[in-house]
């Protein structure tokens, strides 16, 4: 029971990170119907910017942790968002209205380029960061010595995710920008006729997705303490799996899918084998898609002739 609870907490933490990345996929897919393959790399870039910013702050002598975290959050989100904007501008916008495979190919190319860009400029070796936030609370401790712990870092991750999700849902549902995004999602041509600046809305979607990916990158960096140039690929594929699982285009779906993938992965590693955890996640994806093509919370797609 204790072991189960501990895995549950770990799974929710991992799922929160996946969920944040998945939102970027789901929003971009919802609005322009393309798989933004480079999104995993944006997450990776976010965590690298956070790491470098951390060291720069340390060399400047700023060590007060809450202040450092706040600055890193702002810096990483801002710069990663700019990356997201630039990528959309250079690689996707010129191909808008082209055939379906074209932006997917540039996205894959962008992903290869970004991975190697970071490898060349920052080196291929892993970058360790000693744990910055330690401590936690013990929730349960059984007689045979197994303790269930909720670390401060896990709490921060879960709380941040919940806050961001709430904020984001409000933006999409209540603000004018959110309305424009939903309008573009339904019909770009019509939205443009009604005075919505479609290009700007799509750009902002990329910016928002990249910002959330940066937050996920910071969390990943602080939680695992190790990053390298390759973390984006697997995290990206799993987050996309999460987005599809939850129903692509749906924000709560992305979060739910992220949690599901995180939990499946953690429980599979905890009870079966660590080696095959990716197989478990991908098999779930295949099974869900075959039996429930629109995902858990997605709208069923009606095929029109």
């Amino acid at each position: 029971m204790e072991y189960f609870l501990q895995q549950l907490i770990n799974g929710i933490t991992l799922g929160s990170i996946y969920g944040l990345i998945a939102i970027g996929y789901t929003m971009v897919y919802g609005i322009i119907g393309m798989i933004n393959f480079a999104h995993g790399e944006i997450f990776m870039i976010g965590s690298f910017i956070a790491l470098t910013a951390f060291l720069v702050l340390a060399s400047l002598g700023i060590t007060f942790l809450p202040l450092v975290l706040l600055i890193i959050l702002i810096v990483a989100m801002g710069f990663t968002a700019l990356w997201g904007w630039s990528i959309e501008r250079v690689a996707y916008r010129p191909l808008r209205g082209s055939f379906r495979l074209a932006p997917l190919i540039t996205a894959i190319g962008m992903s290869i380029f970004l991975q190697n860009f970071v490898q060349v400029t920052q080196g291929a070796r892993i970058k360790p960061l000693p744990p910055q936030i330690t401590g936690g609370v013990t929730l349960l401790s059984s007689s045979d010595g197994i303790v269930v712990q909720l670390s401060t870092m896990q709490m921060i991750i879960i709380v941040t995710t919940v806050v961001l999700m709430a904020g984001f849902t409000t933006v999409i549902n209540r603000t004018s920008l959110g309305r424009q995004q939903r309008a573009c999602e339904q019909d770009q041509k019509m939205a443009a006729l009604l005075g919505v600046n479609v290009d700007r809305t799509i750009s902002l979607t990329f910016v928002m997705g990249a910002g959330l990916a940066a937050v996920a990158g910071i969390m990943y960096l602080l939680y695992y303490g190790v990053i390298d140039f390759y973390i984006g690929f697997l995290a990206g594929v799993k987050a996309f799996t999460a987005a599809v699982l939850g129903g692509i285009g749906s924000l709560p779906g992305a979060m739910l899918g992220g949690l599901a993938i995180g939990l499946i992965e953690t429980f599979w590693s905890g009870y079966f084998s660590v080696e095959y955890k990716d197989v478990a996640a991908f098999s779930i994806l295949a099974i869900v898609l075959i039996f429930m093509p629109s995902g858990l919370l997605g709208r069923p797609e009606v095929e029109k002739v």
Binding site: G109, I290, E301
Partner: protein, 484 residues
Amino acid sequence: MSSFDPTADTTPEGAERQDEERRRAAQGEPPFVEAATPESRLAGSLREAAITAGIVAAITLFFFAFRTEIAIGGLELTVRWPVWLSWIAIAFVGRFLLSFFLYRADRTKASGAAKGARGAAAVGLGKVLAVVFLLIALTLPILLDTLFPSQNRYILDLAILILTYVMLGWGLNIVVGLAGLLDLGYVAFYAVGAYSFALLSQNFGLGFWVCLPMAGLFAALWGLMLGFPVLRLRGDYLAIVTLAFGEIIRVVLLNWADFTGGPNGLLGIPKPTLFGLEFSRGEGSFSDYFGLDYSPIQRFVFLYYIILALALLTNFITLRLRKLPVGRAWEALREDEIACRSLGINTTNVKLTAFATGAMFGGFAGSFFATRQGFISPESFTFMESAIILAIVVLGGLGSQVGVVIASVVMIGGIEMLRNLGVLTDFFGPSFDPTQYRMLFFGLAMVLIMVWKPRGLVSSRSPSAIYKEKKKIGADMVAQGEGH
């Protein structure tokens, strides 16, 4: 092919090209250009260059200006302002030149007739190119022997590599180019082919020529098995599930150590023989039998002709299949799935045959790869490999056979050439290692070629059978992926 004008909108391809031009005219603007302003060409270019430089400065600040290195007691920060500043300068100058001479230059638009002529010429050129490529490919070992005797082994090896990708590209072209199914896990079949040959030869002592058809068969079976559940899915979902299957196969190969050797891979895979003659020194070898002097290059030439034959076989079968009902059905499926279903085509079966045929050629290529390397490990079958093959198919022009050849030569050969560019080492200093930048340029080339020519380098996606009458409905309404 020559019986119709490929640029008129009576053909799907011509119509699509016109559509694309119309769309480009309506909205296409080069990246980072503001709406036309009355300012002068110079001032405008300078302003755009400044904006670009500012953006480049911001996004590369944490990558060029700072570098983190592992040092004793944690990470160490190195500051490299000169690198950062020089890249900003490069961005400024590059963007200025682009704006001044390209984006803002007064260009007279080519007339439709001129474009049509160019399109017709491209089709003719494609045919000529095919013959030229074939002649070069057939005589390559002799050409190399006379032209570059000192380097022929290296170039021949590169040619073998390029041909392997040509074959993979042609195999994937059946799935993506003809049937329109986006497969991101093609490397799985390549892996199945390679591992079936390696395991059959190690466990049963079978040779290359016996295993080659079996490897193809196994890969085709895997294609059927994987294809059966997933082919009901729509385009992008299909892509992601095939990607997942590719990864699953790789992870299983990596972890099933008893059977596949795990991360260490399989060693000592036999070399192919010519009717039992081995390419080695001594009694009973190829050189001994024919009374020639032994030279290691003989084996390379032999391997080269094997992969050339395999690749040509792939091409030949594809071209013939396109004339059969099943090939026509693939092309029809790519154009419009709903119309296919309404005409009584069993879409699942048609998709499965495409998937299995493509997989079979992947399996052939895989077993050739295994015998060429003599060693295989899961490292060779990552997603990157699938991405490279898909990039070759799409950059070459979906469905175009010559395009695949050109794209392979450009992407694989061109990138490989970076390895021995002494010029770059002179320019960047002795510590510069061009191989490190191989994939960087590969990714960049993928993006740039796609933005420059979205339909691929050689675009001939016209179905083999077409209805030669002007369409009543504008192509906007039925363009791929939009009508449904």
